[in-house]
Structures are given as C-alpha cells and as structure tokens.
Symmetry: C2
Subunit: 508 residues, 2 copies
C-alpha cells in the first residue's frame, strides 16, 4: 500500500464532476455561470450597479463539430482585485475572499478556479485575467495552475492605462458544446436578470447573437455585509479559532459579547453561571473541559435571540416584481415575502412570486429556483421547492393542470445549504421547507381569488352573451303571451349585462 | 476585500454537508459507513476475507435524549497501516492510498478523515486509531486534526503486543441520532453483506443489539489491482504528470507503450505519424504545441481497443446470487451479468439481480443500488437506475404494481461517476444507462416467463378445483342422460388434474 498526499487543486482537478464540470455541455454552462457570479459579487459587494459583458466565441482551432474549444470572457465594472491577490485568486484552490459569514453568490471559493482548471485540462490553454482597482492602470496575467503545487504559474504579465475602466476581466478557453448548452446559458442569463433587475448584461454568442438585458430599475438592495456568528451557528473548532483570533483583547465576558451576535452582558452572566466559569478569565486559558462545558451550555441555552438577519440582502417585493414582469410579463402576479428566519444559527429568508398566464408560461407549473440571486437550473426534482409543492393540495387553490403557472422561489442566506459543490440544489432543512410552504400558501391564496374571479367572469360573459342572444326572442314571446303587438323595450338590458362583465374584468 | 487561503481540512470542516455529514442522523450513518468501507477495502486489497467488528455505544455523557454522543468503533483483520502513515491517514485531508486507478469502495480519500473531523467538531473528543501490520506489535494514537494546518496532532501514543491480531481499529465519538439512523445503518450492513457474501460482520448496537452476518461463501473475487490509464481517460495535465514521472527511462515511443494500456508499437507509429513527431524524441522535450498535438491525436484516434477491464472485480453471478438469497430469500431469482464496457476511458461493468416474492419484499419495486460493493441508500430518486426503470414499459414484462419485486443493480468501475462527495448517487452517463437497461431487459424477460407460468398455474389450479367440484355433478348428469344408474368412475380424473398443477409448480 502506497500513501501520498495530493493538493486541493489535484483533488478537484481529478474530481471535477463534484463541482458540476461533468461534460462539455454542462462545463460550458458552469464556466459562464461561475464567471458571471464572481463578477456580480464583485460589483455588489462594493455597491456598484453591475454592467457585465459576456462573450462566448469559437476558438479558431481545428474542430468543426461539437464539442469544440470556446473562448469565454466576462468583463465587469466591479471593485477589481488588488495586484498582489490577482494571480492567487484565479490560480489557487481554496484561496479567496468568500470564506466569510456573508450573503454572496459564491460560497465555496472554488468556482472560477474550477473554470480555469477545467479549461487547462481540456484545452491546455492558459487563462487571462486582468483587473484595475484605481481606474488609472490595469495589470493582467496569462497564467496556468500548477496542480501538483496548487499555485499559479504566470506565463506573461501585462500592464497599461485603464482609461477609466475599473473592474475585472477573465478569459478562459474551454472544451464546450454550445449547441447543447445554449438554452441553459440563455435561461441562466434571463433568470439572473430576473433576480437582479438592476443589472445590465450584454451577451455576445458564438454565432454573433447579441442579447441585451438592460436594467429596469436603478434601485439596488443594500449590499450584504459580514456579520458576527450566532452562538448556535458555532461549534467547538470555530470557538477555538475565534479565541485564537481574539488573542488577549480582554476577558471571557468581553470575548463573548464582542465575538458573537445576540450575546449581551446578561446572557453571558447566565451562561457562565451555569458552568461556573468566571467572566474575568482569559479566554486563552480555558481548559479543554471548560471549552467543552461552554459549548454545551451554549447549545442548551434557550433564550438566545434569533440570528441577526441584517447580513441578508433579499430582493424585496418591488425588485422581485420588476424582475418577474420583465421576464414573464404575466397576466397575474403576486409576491409573498417572509420575515427572516434561521436554521442552525444561520439566518435566511424566503421570497416567493407566483405568476399566471402571459406569453412565456406553458400549461402546468414551471418552477424558477433562486438562491442568493443565483438561478439554479439543474437537478430540479431533488430540490426542496419541489418537495414542498408535491406535498401541497394544489386543487384546493383551484389550480388545474392546464393552468400556465410560474412559481419563483428565492432563498437568501449567509449560508445556503447546497447539497453539492456545483450548487445545483438545496437540502431540505425543515426550517426552510416550512418558510417556503407558508410563502407559497400565502401567494396561492391570492392566486385562488384571481382564478375564481376569472371563472366567475367567464361564466357571466357566457351568460351575458346567451341573454343578449335570447332576449329579443323572449321579449317577442312575452309580448305574444300578453297579446301586445310590440315587445317591451329590452335593448337597455343588454348593455347592463355587458357592463357587468367589463366591471368584473377591471376588478381583476 | 480581504483574501485568505484555507486548508482542505478547513474547507471540508466548514462544508461537511458536501461529504454527506448534514445532520446527526445522517452523520452517524456516514461515520459507520466510512469506517466499514475503509476496513473492507483494507482487507480485500490484500486478498484477506474480511472479519469486521462494528460497535456503536452511547457515550457515558450527560445527554439523555437524541441527538447525543456515540462511540463508533470498527475493527478489521486487514493488512494494517504502516506506523509512519497511520496518523496522517486519519488526520490529514487528501492523504491516502486511494488516489489510484483501481476499483475500490473509497474514491476520494476523504471518508474516514471526514468522520474524524465531524466527531471533533461536534464532541471535541479525539479519535483513536491503532494498527498492526506484523501481527506481533500494535501501535496506536489518540489524535485530533489541526484544521488550520491540515495535519494530525498526536495527544497520546500507545504500543503493545498484538497477540496475533493484524489489522486496523478506528474509534471516534460523534454527535448522532441512533433512533433515526438505526434502520439505515442496519440496511447498510445487510446490503453490504449481500454485496460481499464472503464477509463476516458482527454488529453491537447501543441497546445491546447483536447482529451477526456470517460469510455464506469462502470464495472471494480476485482482488482488484491497479491498472495503467487508457489513452481516452487521460487529459493533458495527466499526460504531463506521467511524462514527469517517466523521467528519462526511454524515448517517446517507449513512454507511450509502457505508460498506457492498449497502446502497442503499431498504434504509437500511427499516432505519431499523424502529428509528425519522431518516436525517438525524449518525452520531456516535447513543446507545449507538440503536447497539445499529441493529445488531440489521441482524442481523435479511432482504433484504440476498449479499456482493459482486468482491474475490475465484479461479484459474478454466483456470489451475487448467494448474497441476494441470504438477504431476500426470494421465491424467484435471476441474475444478469453484462460484459465490461467503458465510458470516457474508464472500464465498468453492470451486474443485475431481479428477485420476486419471499418474506422480505413488499408489493411494488424495491431497488437496491450497489457501486463497487457499496450499498447506496440516500437520494435514490436521483440515481441513474430509477431513470432507466422509469423509461421502461414494465407492463410488457407482465409486472404489475402489486408484484413484490426486488431489483439489485451493481456497478463496478475503476471510477464510479458519483455526483457527490458523499457517494449518494451515480450520474447518468449514457454508456452506463445503456448497460443497466440491457441487463434489466434480460432479467425481466426471464421474470416474465416466470410470471406467466405462475399465472397459467394459478389459472389451471382454479380450473382444476372447478372441475373437481363439478365433476361429480357432470358425471351424475351424464349417467342420467344415458339412463345409467351409476355415474361412470370419474374419481381418477381429479388426481390427474391436481397432479398437472403440481407439475407446473415444480417446473417453476
């Protein structure tokens, strides 16, 4: 038996399926997605309204058929990456700025580096990255990743005047199958624009396609910010790490109130009384047993306030509505936004939109899943949203299979519980399930009102037209019965009935 | 924006959901599973018939309710781990012996280390590992993992006389929920015994349960061995790595024939002619362009023999039958074993058993999924096997919803395309789908024969009993018709009909 150690680069290089890079179709999709999400995070974290240029071009190489080489490039107007971090940010696995308690699209700090690794493995081409923080000068690298050492190898350096451009540009050459990936990529961009209607994206495809998503609002939700951990979201290892980082800035009582959210002086007092440790102790001097006791006391403490949702940045009803209207232009739309909730010490919030009709929706229920403003397009049947939908009695809401209904579910969290590194779908935590269910119920109730009005209206319309048709005959017949020569003046009755229908239509 | 680098320990520590450690129930199950699989691999790779002792005990700590602390221990009689690797093998992420082209249960070199990490995070207890390679002396460590450095921290060392014991023992304390995990753990052990009927496992549960799976056969499939990569399973990075490892043991032609399977002198000649590189060149001197050219030539070469399946170690029809009989004791059982096939340069083979009736199967289809002899118990609906089943017309095989049917699918490969690090389910590669479909069709055809016989038999039985009932009356009536006083001797006819039914039953 021979043992060896491999680097994280090598691990993900060998097992790129784990990060979603399973075949040329999916890998081309994931490349676009990772680059776009990285750019959007970079803009939003600085409060900049994103303007992205996304391009996919056939690489001028030999292959005539799919799969073939594609140059994928994304340029943003974000905050840029400082020169000293630029090469590592794209050329080193587990190096990044995403290892924080903060709502962001990226979560694992892996995405773009995976795209660089995948490109390198399939095409042997280097990646090109360039950035400007100042807007004065840009700097860039042509680089590859040394997978055995997990570090970037810089092949060429570039530098020049940025002429006002601030942001980051990433270009990779990958083996892809655009023909098969096209519809997913377009859906991804469309739904990204739906989830972030303040974004402008210009997409240039390999056949010269030109798709433009212009922002429909100038309003941006406040940027998410980093938060202190909630005591219930922390385990013993994290506690130790926090104590090490605290060094000797104060005693235990101080440490606890300053390092955690929702922990005040009284809470600390009650906590420490239970385990009989003085608050004046130095946190670094706690024994293993005392640490363990503190952790147990935290886990069994009943009175913590729920996790602070201020680090969350949900879209809000108006932005969600603007986004959905642009994409689906539905006949009816209702939004349901839940208050923040929490699972295992992590705050989250659920926003739901339910749409009916319009030019895009087909009969049946179409689900659009979003998490921290990312559209999730693969492995839909495994997702928590379908689990909730499958357990609801939809006929109770007058929903029938021929109805064209769109269900948009957006989950925001400082920690979305994805089940895969590729962020394809969300685990079925009971707390999240519950919030989705409540939001859907609320929205479906309003949909039911709309659907019953629609039914009533259709019925009245039918009745009205029946009346209009038979009224002259009835009038004539009635006149005949009483022996009158002329029927009574019935004409006024018809407009009344039709007016009724019109009124009902307006009300809906 | 602040950047930082994290170690693989820290990554998987933070994102343990990715490796299946999502909650106390599932984590207890995964802990058992990872320890058992590690032990089985360790025995089988040495050709030793595994004898495992698996124990789960309530840790004598404060919690009275689930979830609480459990001590999980697995001891095997495998080859043992040399002293110099023991601490790293359990205390360092990405350190192991599984990074090879070889069929084994473990694939990512992560499992046991994840269990140690999870235990440490939830209970703050060290792990205990001990091993003996010689059978003379054992050595052991109490250790924790320094997640920020990704290395083991040894707290205590042990050493002593092994008294004939050779193998490895691992014990970890984890936060678990046995009440909820119990059925999964038992199913896991049962199905593991089904997939490896040459294994003996003794399980001691926390309430004193004592489950014994004794081997039902002494025959073990030949141990899987490491194979050279197939050219189609290699990409440019791997090619470079192989060239580096080759150093200067010979020219390019030599390198190609010695480093790959299925590549002989003629193939090399044809390959190199296409790209105009002399076989006498030193592989280390190839330029980037030449490497790229070589890779392209390999990818477009049409005449490679399919990947060598000799590294695979399928169960074979007999072992699979023995395993399924022990577990399900079905009324009818048929096996279908496919010839080896390949996807993307990796050999694989599919073995299928279809069972009907018996004491364990319930009405409907129950699927048992196995991959490299591992039972897969979670996320069944996402698996390729259900995808295939859902696309088959089962009524064509006379399968009805009330039939109690078991479908056992075993996939062996040097590289099982799992979609998650937790190895929950298998991606739907078209080549694998096809083999499963063909194996199922074959088995279902024989099931159909059995089911129709069964139907015919039931029909005859019914007919026979109808005859038996009416025969005396018919005889009497017939006698009356011809004016006879006594009916003809009809009694002999009844046994004949009943015998016919019995014969049919035997034939089935």
């Amino acid at each position: 038996m021979s043992f060896e150690e491999i680097t994280p680069s090598e691990f993900f290089y060998r097992n790129r399926d784990l990060a979603g890079f399973t075949n040329p179709t999916r890998s081309l999709y994931f490349t676009v997605r990772e680059l776009v999400e990285n750019s959007l995070d970079s803009c939003e974290s600085k409060g900049i309204k994103p303007e992205l240029f996304v391009s996919i071009a056939i690489d001028g190489s030999e292959q005539q058929e799919e799969p073939r080489f594609y140059d994928v490039m994304v340029q943003d107007n974000g905050g840029g990456i400082p020169r000293r971090h630029l090469a590592d940010a794209f050329g080193r696995v587990f190096y990044g700025s995403k290892f924080k308690l903060k709502q962001s699209r990226g979560m694992f700090g892996l995405g773009v580096t995976m795209a660089v690794l995948y490109g390198q493995a399939t095409t042997n081409r280097p990646a090109f990255v360039a950035s400007s923080v100042s807007g004065q000068r840009y700097y860039g690298y042509q680089l590859k990743i040394d997978v055995e050492k997990n570090r970037p190898v810089i092949l060429r350096k570039f530098e020049g005047r940025a002429v006002g451009w601030r942001g980051t540009l990433v270009a990779v050459t990958v083996l892809g199958d655009y023909q098969r990936a096209e519809s997913k990529i377009i859906s991804y961009l469309e739904q990204t624009a739906m989830a972030a209607p303040y974004v402008t994206m210009i997409f240039r495809g390999p056949r010269g396609e030109d798709l433009r998503f212009h922002r429909v609002t100038d309003f941006m939700p406040k940027p998410p910010h980093e938060i202190l951990p909630h005591p219930l979201g922390v385990d013993i290892e994290m506690l130790k790490k926090m104590i090490r980082a605290w060094k000797d800035r104060g005693d235990l009582a101080h440490f606890l109130t300053r390092s955690f959210q929702r922990v005040g002086g009284k809470t600390v007092q009650k906590l420490l009384e239970r385990i009989d440790i003085p608050g004046s102790m130095e946190p670094g001097k706690l024994s293993e047993d005392q640490l363990q006791g503190l952790m147990s006391a935290i886990k069994s403490y009943e009175y913590f306030l729920p996790p602070d949702p201020s680090g969350l940045s949900p879209l809000g009803a108006d932005l969600l509505e603007a986004g959905v209207r642009r994409m689906l232009n539905p006949e009816f739309l209702t939004i349901s936004v839940r208050k923040p909730s929490a699972y295992g010490g992590h705050p989250f919030t659920v926003e739901v939109a339910v749409a009916y009709g319009g030019p895009r929706l087909k009969p049946g229920i179409t689900v659009f899943r979003l998490a921290n403003r990312i559209p999730l397009l693969y492995d839909e049947s495994s997702d928590v949203t379908w689990k909730v939908l499958n357990n609801m009695d939809l006929s109770g809401y007058r929903i029938r299979s021929e109805h064209p209904i769109g269900v948009i579910v957006h989950i925001c969290s400082t920690r979305v519980p994805y089940k895969t590194v590729g962020k394809e779908y969300i685990a079925d935590r009971p707390e999240i399930e519950r919030e989705i269910r409540l939001a859907l119920r609320d929205a479906f109730r309003r949909l039911r009102v709309y659907l019953s009005r629609k039914e009533t209206m259709a019925y009245r319309k039918k009745r009205a037209s029946t009346y209009s048709k038979y009224l002259p005959l009835i009038a004539k017949f009635a006149a005949g019965l009483v022996g009158a020569k002329k029927p009574p003046p019935y004409e006024d009755l018809i407009p009344t009935l039709e007016r009724e229908v019109l009124l009902v239509e307006e009300a809906a």
